[in-house]
Each structure stands twice: as C-alpha cells, then as structure tokens.
C-alpha cells in the first residue's frame, strides 16, 4: 500500500505541475486527472481494506468499509 501511495503522490504532483504550466486544454485535462486521482486514491485504499478484512474473517469491519463506499456511491448518484 505504501508503494502505491508513493507512486500516486508523485503522479498528483506531476499532474498539478502540468495543469499550471501547460496550454489551456492540456492544463485543464491534467487538473481533472489530478482531481480524479485525489478522489480515487482514498476510495481504492478503503476497497483494499474491505477485501483484506473480508478474506481474513474480520467481516464486521469489512461491512463498515463497504458501507462507507456505498455512501460515497449514493453521493455520486444524487449529485450527477
């Protein structure tokens, strides 16, 4: 997980830099990509924990994590 987070942090910094220095369309695309990463990273981390806990028999907390992801999904559908 630490290696995944390190790689994602570097990607966020690179995309943020491109968003600031690149031409309008490319810059905006890089900015959108940066925001998508910032949203996806914590949710992937939660999903990883849910799968890990479920497979190890810690189902109560796996369900709690699953509920958090469900709330996020509800937020997406209500706002789009």
């Amino acid at each position: 997980m630490a290696e995944f987070l390190s790689a994602e942090l570097i990607a966020v910094v690179v995309l943020a830099g491109v968003a600031l220095v690149a031409q309008e369309r490319i810059g905006r695309a890089a900015g959108v990509g940066m925001i998508v990463l910032l949203i996806a990273i914590p949710l992937v981390r939660v999903l990883w924990l849910v799968v890990r806990w479920w497979s190890r028999g810690d189902r109560r907390f796996a369900l709690v994590g699953g509920f958090v992801l469900f709330v996020v999904a509800v937020g997406f559908f209500l706002s789009h």
Binding site: M1, A2, L5, S6, E8, L9, V12, V13, L15, A16, G17, A19, L20, G27, R28, A30, G31, V32, M34, I35, L38, I39, A40, I41, P42, L43, R45, V46, L49, W53, R56, D58, R60, F61, V64, G65, F67, V68, V71, V72, V74, G75, F76, L78, S79, H80
Partner: protein, 274 residues
Amino acid sequence: MMDTYYLIPLGALTAFIGVIGGVGGATLLVPTLVAFGLSPLEAAPLGLISVAGTSLAASLRQLDDGLVHHRLGLTIEAPAAIGAVFGALISTSLPAVWLARVLGFGALAGAIATLARRGVRNPPKSTFVDDSPGEWPGTLGGTYHHGGQSVPYLAKRLPAGLTVSLIAGTISGMAGVGGGFLKTPAMSEVMKVPVKVAAATSTFTMGITAATGLIVFSGQGRLAPVSGAAVVLGALGGALIGARVQSRLPASRAKTITGGLLALIAVVVLVQTT
C-alpha cells in the same frame, strides 16, 4: 476569481501553519479565501482538494509509523461520509452568508480545540513491551510506541464519537474544511484514543471525507481543476516544510500561533457576515 498563481503561496502558507498546529491547511485556507472575497461556494472545493492532497502526503509517513487505526477510522468515517454528502448537497441551496457563518464558527471551534488540546493521556505498560505497534484485528483497540514502550488503548464512548464525526462531515461538505479540528479532539478527548493515533487516524479519514465531498461538488460543476492544482502544489510544499518545523518547535508555541490565527480569521469572517 483570484489569480491562480496567488493560490500557490497561500496554499503553502496555510498548510505550513495548519500542519504546525495540527489542524490541517484547509481550516485556515478556506476562511482566508473567503476573507479575501472569494465566495464560500468557490472556496469549499479548493479546501477539499487541499485536504485530499495533504492527507495523501501525510499517510505515507503515518503508515510507516503504524499510527493509523483503519478500523476505527472507517467506523467514524461512516457518519462523516453521510454528513459530507448531505452538507455538500445542501450547500448550493443555502445563502452564501450562512455558509460563511458555518465557516467562521468552524474556525472558532478549531481555535478552541487547538488551544485546549492536551498531551499524551495513556500511560505506557511494561507488559506490552514486545507488542508491535498497530491495531488489534476485530476491535477498536491497539498499541502504539511511546518512549520505547508500547501503549495499549481501546476506543470508548463510540456513540458520542460517531455523533461528532457526523457533525464534522457535514461541516466538511458544506464549507470545504477537513473537519480534523473536530474529529481529532473527539477521538482523543471523548473516545480516549492516544493523541498521536487520533491525529493519524483523523488524517486518514479526512482523505475519504474530502473524496466524498469532491464527488458531490463535481456533480454540481463546482470544481476548478487549474486553481485546485495550484492549491495542491502549495499545500504539499507547505505541509512538507511544516512537518519538519513542527518537530523542532515547542508544542505550546505551535498551538498558540495556530489557535490565535484561527481565532483571528474566524472573527474576520464572522464580522463580514454581520
């Protein structure tokens, strides 16, 4: 809209001070942007982008230290995520002056929480010396290392902690601040979790709350990607330097500086709304 490049030093400065004082950068950034004339509806997404960036940066170090209690984090995040969705959804229906007041009172609560915060509560126990730091599977307890010894802990008063977390999430979704100024004291003072574990776990949960709020903001068309990039670059730099300075600065002075600044910004924002 404020010039994008001014957001880099502003993001850096607020993250620097926020990390030193342990409240996170957005608690300072968003009220400052509003005090400078940005609408609360525009400032909130920038605040959550800053929160998401600094949460990611901080999580690397905290994972290595074994301080994050993921089970406790996701347990208190469940009501926070509900609050974040609710807060973000209703924020567009509320008058800007109400949002600014929520922000002002949030900053005031942050100032009080910062100035009133206490140090390490749980004593080390020699019977736990050989335990590796981390969480105990299937429970809201664990151990962490302090002064060469292991400190055991078990979260208490869960309903009270969940209630505070719901309030923190709602403020986060409405105003774009991280909510750590409520979550961390709730875990350490109400749930009796060690301060360091509470702070690290709070940082982990703030990334999820920010992602939840940003998803709703994206559906509302409120995200400004290039301005967000400027805030992230500034916030990451400021948080990095702030973390280094924090280890050298006496805790009491850091608390006084951050608490004082938060109180000042709270007064400025609240005066603007009268």
